[in-house]
């Protein structure tokens, strides 16, 4: 037992004290923060002020456009040609010419330099509304103020409420659940593969430089293999903790750095909606117009998210997913002579790890049924598949069954890999086949 501790500490400290470990650990969160923050900052700051000259032959639209944060509508006198000249001279960014007569729902938007993409949509929406209101007043003699009031009070609001076994309801954001599920799934997938590969490389290194023969004359191969797997696991947990800590610090720093007003209400949704709709401008401009379908209508749903369950499950599935793959990789690493030969064995066992991710988009609509349910139970796929399901709520018995199956499978993997390892680690110059591995396991 004492020797296992020794092995773990060597495997741990040689990795943790490596320069590359320190650099990767520190750089990744910075890089991630930059990747997240840069588009947001660009979206917030780079949109320049847009000045639009409006000319309407019917004069109906004069002074009717609402200015946005960065969009200003001006109504100078003069004909279109003159305004166009002014646009070329840089006095405005665009000229909106609304056609007269019965064509008041038609317009031309002239510009010299291309304005923000969202401008056209913004104008279109505003004109739609102005024209619609005009029709209401002219044709139906509607009291516009009253109409707006009725419209507001009759607006439909759907609260997504998830109920647990006790029947207690909690607000839930289905879209957010999916996103968090997918992100965590990708993280598990990446981490598991990354650290399991480290075990593979390390086993291969010891085999090819033959230090293994000295070591297995001191400790049992099983002890050594387990020491290595656990040591690398601790490296993974350390790196993960450091990175999460670093991201946390960076976020706090960013919050202090960026003016508070920019971060409030608009900033958070923009940032995340950004990733989804890919169009920052829309949101900014659209914020002037009442928007009922924002997924962040009720920001408090965020706080009802099952954080503690998620964190516990994430750690559990990360650790045991890693343990399963690391022991498989250790077995494979011991059986082959070089990294190239290992590919034929790595690929088949890695496909299940990535399978849930590949299928996720097609399953996003039904996270609780069908194939994803089965994938979240089958040990090789469950670390990723179950994490994907958890934010949407998973019955306790399913969670426990899945965890139990994973642990049981891990025990089996270690047992099988230890058998392969014991034989393989001292076997050189032999092309290994699946049949051969099977023979070693039964041996």
């Amino acid at each position: 037992m004492n020797k296992i501790g020794l092995i773990i500490s060597r495997e741990y400290f040689t990795r943790v004290t490596k320069k590359s470990f320190i650099i990767v650990t520190l750089l990744t969160p910075i890089l991630m923060a930059v990747l997240i923050m840069v588009p947001v900052i660009i979206a917030l700051n780079s949109e320049k002020e847009v000045k639009v000259f409006v000319t309407d032959e019917n004069d109906y639209f004069i002074n009717k456009f609402a200015d946005g944060k960065k969009v200003h509508f001006l109504y100078p006198n003069g004909d279109v040609e003159m305004l166009k000249q002014q646009c070329i001279a840089g006095e405005c960014d665009a000229v909106l010419q609304i056609l007269g007569g019965s064509q008041s729902n038609q317009a031309n938007l002239y510009f010299y330099e291309e304005p923000p993409m969202s401008l056209k949509g913004n104008i279109q929406e505003q004109m739609d509304k102005i024209n619609f209101d005009k029709t209401l007043i002219d044709t139906f003699r509607v009291d516009l103020k009253k109409y707006e009031q009725i419209k507001l009070t009759s607006q439909t609001l759907i609260a997504a409420l998830q109920i647990d076994e006790m029947g207690k309801a909690q607000a839930s954001s289905m879209e957010l659940n999916r996103i968090i599920g997918i992100i965590c799934g990708i993280m598990i997938c990446t981490f598991v593969f990354m650290y399991a590969s480290q075990v593979l490389r390390s086993v291969l290194e010891e085999k090819t430089n033959r230090i293994i023969e000295v070591i297995v004359s001191s400790v049992k191969p099983f002890q050594f293999m387990m020491g290595k797997i656990i040591g690398v696991a601790l490296v993974g947990i350390t790196q993960f903790a450091l990175q999460v800590g670093a991201i946390f610090i960076i976020l706090i720093a960013v919050q202090a750095f960026i003016p508070r007003t920019m971060l409030q209400s608009e900033m958070v949704p923009t940032e995340i909606v950004n990733n989804m709709s890919d169009n920052a401008f829309n949101v900014n401009v659209a914020s002037n117009i009442p928007q009922t379908n924002s997924i962040f209508n009720d920001i408090s749903t965020f706080y009802n998210f099952p954080f503690s369950t998620m964190i516990i499950c994430f750690l559990f599935y990360f650790i045991f997913g890693y343990l399963v793959y690391a022991s498989l990789f250790a077995g494979i690493g011991s059986a082959v002579d070089n990294e190239t030969d290992s590919q034929q064995f790595i690929l088949p066992v890695t496909i299940p790890l990535y399978l849930p991710l590949v299928l996720i988009s097609s399953m996003a609509n039904a996270p609780q049924n069908g194939i994803i349910w089965w994938l979240s139970m089958i040990p090789l796929t469950s670390p990723v598949a179950m994490i994907f399901r958890i934010p949407s709520g998973v019955p306790l018995w399913e969670l426990i069954t899945s965890m139990f199956l994973l642990v049981a499978f891990f025990v089996f993997c270690v047992w099988a890999s230890a058998k392969i390892y014991r034989t393989g680690i001292l076997m050189y110059g032999k092309k290994i086949t699946w049949r051969e591995l099977w023979k070693w396991i039964r041996y």
Partner: protein, 308 residues
């Protein structure tokens, strides 16, 4: 008193038998040569002694008790294919390997520093293995093998990769270990070193013991009544007078003497040969030519392989 008793050990692999009903005793305090052609089963035997692999049947006794994990720390093993962690500092690495053999960190460091000083390699302490030559690494590996003061040592081709000076250094260390009462197994293809330092040998072929015993006894068993006599000049009549039971196999003539290799038939003896020369010419030297281990090795293995 035997430190190791191997009794009827058999080890099979999927397609061949590495050791077949193999028995061997290794007396305490000797240097024991483990010889055999490639693939004879030497490495398997060594791995069984190290408990890296287990025999299919048969028992191995260490000091009269069945071999178990408790004896691991009493055995030192220098494998033929040996390696070190390339990227690790030599100090950290040697301490780690010594700790795996059950030493405390402090004790390991103390002993290592003693050996580094003795081998005059203190300057390597903080270097990485990848900076060292193969011979330098061998020295480190030798130190790691003996650092935990094992009673029983197994050296597999210890001299390969060493220059003559370091070979000598290592040879002396091995002899010193023997003097201290340790038992040493020396597995090697270098027959000269076997003759130089081994007390007993065993020759293995195809998983079976074909020859074993004290080095001198083995050689005597293989002697073929060949003698070398050095005389100041050749007797004038010796070609006609010499009895037919003496056969000259080789003659070397130098400025001052003639060296003759003489084969004596079994019904004759060395005294009769001397008697023939002593009355005719001055004799400068006379001795029996014993076969070298090299010859014994080749003769035994080829004849066995031809028979099967």
């Amino acid at each position: 008193m035997n430190i190791i008793d191997i009794q009827n050990v058999t080890k099979k692999f999927s397609n061949h038998i590495a050791l077949n009903d193999f028995s061997l005793s290794i007396p305490q305090g000797c240097i024991f040569g483990l010889l055999g052609p490639n693939g004879a089963g030497k490495t398997t035997l060594i791995r069984i002694l190290n408990q890296i692999t287990a025999p299919d049947s048969g028992v191995v006794l260490y000091d009269g008790k069945p071999l178990c994990r408790d004896f691991i720390e009493k055995i030192g093993y220098l494998p033929e294919e040996r390696g070190l962690y390339k990227k690790m500092k030599i100090s950290e690495q040697t301490i780690y390997l010594a700790q795996l053999k059950g030493l405390t960190k402090e004790e390991a460091k103390k002993r290592l520093l003693y050996w580094f000083k003795k081998f005059e390699i203190e300057s390597w302490w903080n270097r990485k293995v990848e900076e060292l030559s193969k011979g330098m690494q061998q020295k480190i590996q030798f130190i790691v093998t003996i650092i935990h003061h094992p009673d029983f040592l197994i050296f597999d081709e210890p001299f390969s990769g060493f220059d003559p000076i370091n070979t000598d250094l290592l040879k002396n260390e091995i002899l010193q270990l023997k003097k201290n009462g340790n038992t040493i197994i020396l597995s090697t293809h270098n027959m000269a070193s076997v003759e130089e330092i081994c007390d007993e040998i065993v020759l293995i072929n195809k998983g079976e013991k074909v020859l074993s015993g004290k080095l001198g006894e083995v050689k005597h068993a293989f002697k073929s009544n060949l003698f070398q006599i050095e005389v100041a000049r050749l007797p004038l009549d010796f070609l006609t007078e010499m009895p037919a039971s003496f056969q000259i196999t080789e003659t070397v003539t130098t400025d001052s003497s003639h060296v003759l290799n003489v084969q004596i038939s079994s019904d004759s003896n060395a005294n009769q040969l001397l008697d023939f020369f002593i009355h005719r010419v001055p004799i400068l030297s006379f001795h029996e030519i014993l076969p070298s281990m090299n010859e014994i090795f080749i003769r035994t293995i080829t004849s066995q392989n031809n028979n099967s």
